[in-house]
C-alpha cells in the first residue's frame, strides 16, 4: 500500500519526460514521423562536395557530391519509412565549427561536409562517423609563388633518398607560412606534425587564398578539394607533388557522414546504405561525376540541387579572415 502511495505519480513523471525528450522513439522513427531529414552542411564552400549556393529558376539551390549523397539518403529513407510522402532533406547551412555544436544540440539528424573521421582529433565526444563515402582522400598542399615551389622542390630533392613523406614535408615546409582551415583535418595535422612552420588559421579556404597579410606560402586542405579548385577556380595555385610528379599526400583520410553517437539503428541504416552504394558502384559513379567529369555547377544546381532552409541561413556569408596561430 505504501509503495502504491509512493509510486502513484510515476506515470505522470514518465509522461512528462517522454514529452520533453522522446526516449523511446529512435531517430529513424522520428525522421519518418517528421517526414524531414535535417541535414547540416557548411556555409564555406568545399567544392566539389558543396558548391556555393546559386539562384535558379526554382530559387536558391546548392549542389555538389555531398548534396547528391544527401539525396540518396533521403530516397532510401522514403523507401524505409514506406510513406506516401517523400522524406524531404532540409539543409541547415552553418559555419563548419558550428555543425558539431548543432549536431550535439540535436538540431540536426546528420551532417555531411567532406569531414574525415580517420584523422586523429576529428571525432568529438557524442558524435559518430559513418563508414566512408569517399575513400582515399588525404591532406594535400598548394603553392602559388614559383620561388616557394622551387624551394620546396629543392628540399624534396634533398630528401629523395629518404622515402618518408612526412619527414620530407617537415623539412620542405620548415619556416614557411602555412594556412589551414580552423577545425578541419589539415589544422589538426599541421598542429601535430609541422612544428617548424608559421601556422595561419583561416575561417575558410577562400579566405586563405585571398589573404595578403601575412603572405601565405602554402595552403593545406583535402586533396580532392585542392585538385578541383586549382583546376577550375584558382588556377594560379598549384598542387605540390613529389619530385617524380606523383600527387603528394601528407596523410590519408576517408570522408564520412556524421550523426549522433546515440542513434544505433540510424547508424546501421547509414552504414548499410553506404555499403549498398559502394557495392552497386554508385559511390564510384558519384566520384567520377563530380571529380573527373566536365560540368557547370550552376546547371547541375538547377537540375538537381537542393533548397536551403531559409530560416537557418546566416544573413550573409562572409568567407572570414586568417590569423596567425598562437606560438607561430
Amino acid at each position: 500500500m505504501a509503495a502504491i502511495l509512493l509510486l502513484q505519480g510515476c506515470g505522470l513523471i514518465y509522461d512528462a519526460v517522454t514529452t520533453i525528450h522522446p526516449l523511446t522513439r529512435d531517430e529513424l522513427s522520428s525522421i519518418c514521423a517528421r517526414e524531414r531529414l535535417r541535414v547540416g552542411i557548411a556555409v564555406e564552400p568545399f567544392r566539389p562536395f558543396v558548391f556555393p549556393a546559386v539562384y535558379t529558376n526554382e530559387g536558391i539551390r546548392v549542389t555538389g557530391l555531398d548534396i547528391e549523397l544527401i539525396r540518396e539518403i533521403a530516397a532510401a529513407l522514403t523507401s524505409y519509412c514506406n510513406s506516401p510522402t517523400p522524406i524531404v532533406a532540409t539543409l541547415h547551412v552553418t559555419r563548419f565549427p558550428d555543425l558539431f555544436i548543432k549536431m550535439n544540440e540535436r538540431q540536426l539528424d546528420l551532417f555531411v561536409s567532406s569531414v574525415s573521421g580517420t584523422v586523429p582529433g576529428t571525432r568529438p565526444a557524442g558524435l559518430w562517423f559513418s563508414a566512408p563515402y569517399f575513400r582515399n582522400d588525404g591532406i594535400a598542399a598548394i603553392i602559388q609563388r614559383p620561388e616557394v615551389a622551387e624551394r620546396v622542390r629543392a628540399q624534396f630533392q634533398k630528401q629523395s633518398e629518404n622515402r618518408d613523406t612526412r619527414v620530407a614535408v617537415q623539412e620542405g615546409f620548415a619556416g614557411l607560412t602555412v594556412a589551414v582551415q580552423k577545425g578541419r583535418s589539415s589544422h589538426l595535422y599541421a598542429e601535430a606534425n609541422l612544428k617548424r612552420i608559421r601556422m595561419v588559421i583561416c575561417d575558410s579556404l577562400p579566405a586563405a587564398i585571398e589573404t595578403k597579410d601575412p603572405i601565405i606560402d602554402v595552403i593545406l586542405s583535402e586533396h580532392s578539394i585542392l585538385e578541383y579548385v586549382t583546376k577550375r577556380v584558382w588556377q594560379d595555385w598549384h598542387l605540390v607533388t613529389h619530385t617524380d610528379g606523383a600527387p603528394l599526400r601528407l596523410t590519408h583520410a576517408d570522408l564520412s557522414i556524421v550523426t549522433s553517437d546515440e542513434h544505433r539503428p540510424f547508424q546501421w541504416f547509414l552504414n548499410n546504405l553506404l555499403f549498398h552504394l559502394e557495392e552497386s558502384g554508385r559511390l564510384t559513379q558519384m566520384r567520377t561525376r563530380w571529380i573527373d567529369a566536365e560540368y557547370a555547377p550552376t546547371r547541375r544546381a538547377t537540375a538537381e540541387g537542393l533548397p536551403l532552409e531559409v530560416a537557418q541561413v546566416p544573413d550573409h556569408y562572409d568567407q572570414g579572415q586568417c590569423r596567425l596561430a598562437e606560438g607561430s
Binding site: P45, P52, A53, V54, Y55, T56, N57, E58, G59, I60, S204, P206, A207, E210, Y295, A296, P297, T298, R299, R300, A301, T302, L308, V310, V313, P314, D315, H316, Y317, D318, Q319
Partner: protein, 248 residues
C-alpha cells in the same frame, strides 16, 4: 459613440471578407488590356534592374551589396516610370480599375524574390551567382501567379528551363513575332469567346544578354548552357500574360 464604432467595425470587416465583390465592377476589356500591358512592363522593369546590377550582384570582393528589396523597389519604380510615365506611388487614379492592386501584388512578389535571394547575393568571394533576369523573372512570375487569377510567364521558343516552354498559343505568337520588326508593344487578343485575355510582350536580346546567349553558338556559357548564337535585337522571348474575364 466610440463603443458603438468598435462593435460595428468587425462587422464591416466581415462584410468585406464575405462579399468582396460588392461595389466592384468588372473591368472593361480595354482596362484589362491596359492592365496586362502594365504588368508585363513592370516585370520587364524588374528584369532590367537585375540586368543593370549584375556587376554589383556578382562582385566577389563585397559581402553585403546593399541591393536590398527596398533599393530594388526604388529602382524598379524609376524604370517603370521611365517606360510608362506612371509613378506607381502617386498615380493610382490614372490607372485602370483593378490594375493598381495587381501591380502592387507583382511588385511585392518581385521584392520577395530579391529578399529570398539576399543570401546568394551577399556571398563574398563568390562571383557569378545566376541571379539574372531570367531566374528573377521566373520566380517573380510564379509567386505572383500563385496569389492571383492572372498568370504571368516568361517564355521562348528554345527554353533553357523547360517550365518556360511555350504552349501552343505562345508558340504561334512567338513564331510570328520572330519575323516582325522589333516592337515593345504587347500583342493582345481575347480568346475563348472573349473569356480570356492573352497578351505577349516581346523581349529582345541586348548587348548585355549576348555574354550568355551570343556567339559562338553551342559553346557553354558561365552557367553551363550552350550559347544560342543570338545577335543584339533578335527576339529572345516574351512575357506572356493570361487574364480571365472574371479575374476579380
Amino acid at each position: 459613440m466610440l463603443a458603438r464604432s468598435l462593435i460595428f467595425l468587425p462587422f464591416g470587416l466581415m462584410a468585406m471578407l464575405l462579399w468582396p465583390h460588392c461595389g466592384w465592377a468588372q473591368p472593361s476589356q480595354k482596362e484589362t488590356e491596359r492592365t496586362a500591358e502594365l504588368l508585363a512592363t513592370l516585370l520587364d522593369a524588374g528584369r532590367v534592374v537585375i540586368e543593370r546590377n549584375q556587376p554589383l550582384i556578382n562582385d566577389s570582393q563585397r559581402g553585403d551589396k546593399g541591393f536590398s528589396p527596398d533599393v530594388f523597389e526604388r529602382l524598379v519604380l524609376d524604370e517603370f516610370f521611365r517606360q510608362t510615365q506612371i509613378d506607381l506611388n502617386w498615380s493610382a487614379s490614372s490607372l485602370p480599375l483593378h490594375a493598381k492592386d495587381l501591380l502592387t501584388l507583382l511588385l511585392l512578389a518581385s521584392k520577395e524574390v530579391v529578399a529570398d535571394a539576399q543570401f546568394v547575393i551577399n556571398q563574398r568571394g563568390i562571383g557569378y551567382k545566376n541571379f539574372i533576369p531570367a531566374t528573377f523573372g521566373s520566380q517573380a512570375a510564379r509567386k505572383f501567379s500563385k496569389q492571383s487569377k492572372v498568370t504571368i510567364k516568361q517564355t521562348t521558343l528554345d527554353p533553357r528551363n523547360l517550365r518556360n516552354a511555350p504552349d501552343a498559343y505562345e508558340e504561334t505568337v512567338l513564331r510570328r513575332l520572330a519575323h516582325q520588326p522589333a516592337s515593345t508593344t504587347p500583342l493582345v487578343e481575347w480568346i475563348d469567346g472573349g473569356r480570356l485575355l492573352r497578351a505577349m510582350m516581346p523581349i529582345y536580346y541586348s548587348e548585355d544578354c549576348l555574354t550568355c546567349h551570343g556567339s559562338p553558338k553551342g559553346i557553354l556559357d558561365i552557367s553551363g548552357y550552350p550559347r544560342e548564337g543570338a545577335q543584339a535585337g533578335e527576339l529572345a522571348g516574351a512575357i506572356s500574360i493570361q487574364i480571365p474575364v472574371d479575374h476579380r
